[in-house]
Symmetry: C2
């Protein structure tokens, strides 16, 4: 294949929009999450975020990148005020509405109303979930870490509650997020559906990791009974 | 749909492997990158990382999460020593080898040799790229940010050079990473190919963002001539 080389100086010569789209594409596929927050007047805010990462399972921690506060940033300001937000996975049926929430609405306009999604106030949380999302979490602020080099913020939070379709949790804990029709993001504005290649076994030296059977790793004994957790017909 | 609720206390009652797989699945699809480093003896190291995020385009910054140093962490230790690493996108043809590199090899074993990938020493960089990857970047260390809550590290670096197939860069800068057969990750070990849904236009209030035509946004004038950048037939 013909491969081109770009140095950092080369990239600086490119038009800024071109460069932004290019650099944004280089890290690979990204998750699509709607971040739900509320301000002091109770106005529900919604923001599309592609930078949510897993930080740890015990305690259950997530991080996300927020851009510099050179302009109004409702989400970050709401998180500072109330210390909570929701993460709501973006599925194909709500993709266009989710993307539309990234428009610059005035602070007193709720993106929920503007794009036609439903704010769900769950578990006494001071941040609304997206009723139409098949996977929602309530997150409590742990730490806002400043990135000195470009004034972005790495915002870290701990899972408080999780709402998810029970049937997509496999017997070993793996969640079949593809069954929830979640989308993947590439670059600033590219959206993708996915097709399962499979799961690969835990790798050990001197073997070649093989594909797991569809039912998962089968290493949890006794089996976990998820029916003991509260379920409800919703949405 | 029937939705189940899990509180943080509920999650604590689950077997630790089950919980780890569950929590790891919740943030959505993730990028698949091989991180290439080298130690002082010149042993090339390779690690699979699913937490690379875009931090900014100007300067071009990326972040990634590294786990606590309670055991030997060759990648982080090499990054501390030499201040550089490579990010190499994982495509379908090298997926099983990439996954296998996550096995616990001894420090003096190069994962490149163990899994059968080729170390490419490019641009005088003290970290090897993966010759078989269709998108490689050289990254220079900017900052290692400690996450106080769980002893992970958020490692931040600046792009130094980029090697990519020129034909997948669209006229407005967007990169068609799907054309490179890149995989997406879900949970700890789930792998997916993707199908393009499309790109959505930049959202503005009071409209509904529409799909872009296949050739992109068309807002870069004059068109960028990429043939002026160095190209070579490789791999």
């Amino acid at each position: 294949m013909t491969v081109s080389t770009f140095t950092r100086d080369d990239l600086e010569t490119l038009p800024s929009r071109f460069r932004a789209r290019l650099i944004n594409s280089l890290s690979g596929f990204k998750s699509a999450n709607l971040v739900g927050t509320a301000d002091d007047a109770g106005v529900a805010n919604l923001a599309m975020v592609s930078s949510v990462v897993h930080l740890g399972a015990s305690p259950p921690l997530f991080g996300m990148v927020m851009r510099p506060e050179t302009v109004r940033r409702d989400t970050l300001s709401n998180i500072r005020q109330h210390g909570v937000w929701t993460l709501n996975s973006v599925s194909q049926p709500i993709l266009q509405q989710a993307h539309q929430s990234s428009a610059s609405y005035d602070a007193d306009v709720s993106e929920f109303d503007a794009v036609g999604l439903t704010a769900d106030w769950l578990h006494g949380f001071a941040a609304p979930a997206v009723a139409e999302s098949p996977l929602s979490m309530g997150i409590e602020l742990v730490e806002i870490v400043p990135v000195h080099h470009n004034q972005t913020r790495f915002v870290i939070g701990k899972l408080s509650w999780l709402e998810i379709r029970r049937d997509v949790i496999q017997t070993d804990g793996f969640v079949d997020i593809e069954a929830l029709d979640l989308v993947a993001i590439s670059g600033l504005d590219g959206y993708h559906s996915t097709s399962k290649l499979g799961r690969l076994r835990y790798a050990v030296p001197d073997e070649t990791a093989d594909w797991l059977p569809d039912e998962g790793a089968g290493d949890i004994k006794p089996a976990v009974d998820l029916t003991r957790f509260k379920s409800a017909l919703r949405r």
